[in-house]
């Protein structure tokens, strides 16, 4: 169930909101837990049993880790991590691995091998990381284990962040579960502007731009001109930001409506002047997770330069694979890891002081990011390299008819507005302005979000379901 689907907006949410308001405040976690399981079943069907099994294992592991009677805490931790990573590896990566084995076997003339074909449970990457965060935090004694199963289910399965993040580390949210003194209408009013903003970013901007990116990435042969390649890279760069940050805004807004504060996930990432800075602004919850649970345990930057560089590349290889089981994601991760190492080696990971250099670095960083996104969105490495080749070699400025056809007035305007929004000063963060801002600008922003952006997005969601037949279907 997508947040931008009619069934979520006008069936699920009204039912959950009414239930939440009718029930006593102390039942908040239970209401959310049940609603979240319903949400997951809706999108994933019988895979809810996988989620419940993971919940049971990790809940039990947490209790065991907290128990004074358990001597081998490390073993319990290993079992829990093994279970979580095992589930992720099997469901997400077994198909990819078996395909590689098959390819190698055929290349060696040994014939084909069995290819695993498992459907990917929705949100498995996210809830696996939540589980890992929990057991590690409990093992480290950062927080005691959660004694109430419903509360634990609320943490793992909270529907605002279940399928698309942000990744909420256990210690970031645990203290909020017991705080049920909130004014529910206050929460609702506080969260809705952010949700409306996120919906508009996704539906009005990202979905509008998507066909342009798709048409450009589908171009091949003589149709893949330099102009097509750059337009596609730019369109996808904008699309992925507005889509992903829009989802995060919706998640933060939804959680806020139910009295929870989730961590910010984006902070004007395209205003970065280095790749290092980009990763402090893009999908911040993922960066923090990798930092706390992988990078620092590997030694971080405290074991010499070589080890630091190795750790950085390792993190980004894992990060790439976390996004998807394909070589293009691996290359994307390696690309970013390599750039981070280069910035460290050259000392180019700091903020330039002079304006011309600042502009140059910002443009340069943007170009590097766009190249990375080409890998991210391409169906194969050969297509990615083809597109990048077209970007950096003179292959004409004409746009093929198929791409031209997508550039109607509305898409062109939205594309330009989205690009303009990215050029705003980095201090302008609309999401935080809506949530925490005071003063006239914040009020105007909130009003614009709830009175214009949200309703227009709602109209587009409803209208987007329009699928008429030319003739009546008898």
């Amino acid at each position: 169930m997508s947040f931008a689907a009619p069934v979520f907006l006008w069936y699920f949410m009204p039912a959950v909101l009414l239930t939440y308001w009718i029930m006593p405040r102390t039942w908040r976690n239970g209401v959310l837990a049940v609603a979240s399981l319903v949400f997951y079943v809706w999108g994933a069907g019988e895979y809810v049993f996988l989620l419940l099994a993971c919940i049971a294992v990790n809940f039990g592991a947490g209790l065991a880790l907290d128990s004074a009677r358990i001597r081998h805490r490390r073993a319990v931790l290993c079992v829990a991590i093994g279970w979580d990573l095992g589930a992720l590896l099997i469901w997400k990566y077994a198909g990819f691995a078996s395909n590689q084995v098959d390819s190698i076997s055929r290349a060696l003339g040994l014939g084909g091998t069995h290819i695993v074909d498992l459907a990917l449970p929705i949100g498995i990457s996210f809830f696996t990381f939540h589980h890992l965060s929990y057991v590690i935090d409990v093992y480290r004694r950062d927080r005691p284990a959660q004694r109430h199963l419903l509360t634990f289910i609320t943490y793992i399965g909270m529907f605002p962040q279940l399928v698309a993040g942000p990744i909420v580390r256990y210690h970031e949210i645990v203290d909020q579960f017991d705080d049920v003194r909130t004014n529910r209408l206050d929460d609702f009013a506080a969260g809705f502007p952010r949700f409306a903003l996120g919906l508009a970013k996704k539906v009005v901007v990202a979905d509008t731009i998507a066909p342009v990116a798709s048409a450009c990435f589908a171009a091949h042969g003589s149709d893949l001109t330099t102009a097509t390649a750059w337009l596609g890279a730019l369109a996808y760069t904008l699309q992925i930001y507005f889509d992903f940050s829009g989802y995060s805004d919706m998640a933060l807004g939804l959680a806020r409506m139910f009295g929870f504060g989730l961590p910010e996930n984006f902070d004007r990432p395209y205003s970065s002047v280095t790749i290092t800075e980009f990763w402090r602004r893009w999908h911040m919850s993922l960066s923090r997770w990798f930092r706390d649970y992988v990078y620092i345990p590997l030694g971080g930057n405290r074991r010499g330069r070589a080890r630091t560089y190795c750790n950085l590349v390792t993190i980004f290889v894992l990060c790439g694979f976390w996004h998807g089981a394909a070589w293009t994601f691996l290359v994307w991760g390696l690309f970013h890891g390599g750039l981070l190492v280069v910035e460290r080696v050259t000392g180019a990971n700091g903020d330039p002081r002079h304006l011309p250099l600042l502009i140059l670095r910002r443009v340069g960083t943007m170009v590097l990011l766009m190249v990375g996104w080409v890998f991210f969105n391409s169906a194969s490495l050969s297509k990615a390299f083809g597109m990048i080749g077209a970007m950096f070699s003179p292959r004409g400025t004409a746009l093929p008819a198929a791409v031209h056809a997508t550039l109607d007035h509305q898409r062109t305007v939205v594309l330009c507005l989205a690009l303009t929004a990215l050029l705003l000063p980095r201090s302008v963060t609309v999401g935080r302005l809506l949530d925490h801002g005071s003063g006239r600008l914040a009020s105007i922003g909130r009003f614009a979000a709830v009175a214009f952006a949200g309703p227009y997005a709602a109209v587009l969601v409803a209208a987007g379901t329009f699928s008429p037949f030319i003739y009546y279907q008898f």
């Binding site: 009204p14 999108g43 996704k202 589908a218 992925i240 889509d243 995060s248 504060g261 989730l262």
Partner: protein, 421 residues
Amino acid sequence: MTTAHRRPSRPGRVRRRLRRPVVLLFAAVFFFAPLAARLTGQHAVQFENHALARFPSMTSWSFFSKFDTWSVDHLPLRQYAVRGDANLSQSVFGEVPQYGGNADIPKSGIGSKDGQRTQPASGDAQYTDVIEGKNGWLFFGGDAAGACKPRRPISQELALINQLGQAVTASGRQFIFTVAPDKTTMYPDKLPDSFYGKDCMLSAKKEFWQRLSRNPPVGYLDLRSALRLQQDADGVPIYRKSDTHWGPRGGVVFAKQLANRLQPGLWNGTIVTRHGSVTQRGDLSILDGRPTDDVMPNWTVRRPGVRLGYKIAPHPLAQPDTVVNQSSAGGAKLFPKKTLLLGDSFTDASRSDLLPLFKQVTILHNTSSVGYPDKLTQAFVDNDVIVLEVVERSPVGGGIALIGPKHLPSLIAALKAHPLH
């Protein structure tokens, strides 16, 4: 250890007091408007040319996906959202939105469904459902999409129609094949100067009409010339502005041409009168999201002395429907042979003019009837004359199902096995 994330501090009491009711009002309207509409008696309506989905069975996991369909169909106020969006887009951007073409990034929001890559669109999204022509004329986008990406070459399509025709005539029956021209063929001057697929569409249409005129299938009846002549004589367009079909006058032309082919003199005594005008909702305007009505001169056919065997002319549907008419002595003649009228929405639009020509006629849809192959075959066998009407985009796009490999051989075999004596 990172500090646990806290809820944001609350704003000042005065500002909160002012802000809260406004935001709450908008939020409440946002989430609860459809529910409120439903409770006040507003129901979802059929406006997409299909029946509303039924509530799904709760006994399988597919309940959830089917509920999504049901929930969309039964969402109150949705038709206003469609119309509002179309009008807003037209007034702000000068164009109507392309429905159904938006890509929904899968749920992870990061370009892949938690690792499953979505393939870029092949280019199909560029063909719009409706082509907006000059002076408010609307055309069906499928004319371009089908022509540019045909399932079978035009030459093969016409050869298969000829094969069917020859099988019918070899069995002793009469075969008549006619083509209702697309609006894009009748009014090329009203097409926009450019749109995606225009060149390949025009090229395919040119090839089609050239092949039809040089080497027509057996039994071919040309309607295009007669429609143009009538239009020139009347001085008004014969097709509807916001619909794919011809208006009442087109139905009369079709009926007259068919009558003259079936039997010389059959049309004699038929009285064609114009009285007033008729208002009809344009099907293209429905696709467009901005339903509008066309007003056209109303022409009707009356055949004195003919007693019709129906109160309401039956539609061409998936299963055959047979009507029997009677004529009194001295009245207009009825075509005496049992006739199968296989047509589509153009036959449907003309049925009030066509059906009174026959003593016994079976009307059947030329596409949906393949869902009942046995009844389709039997209809061929039971009748002495087979009239096949197709709209131009069908053969141009290579999409006539009944001449495909699944159905044509069995039709030919049945005709061979049941010749007319």
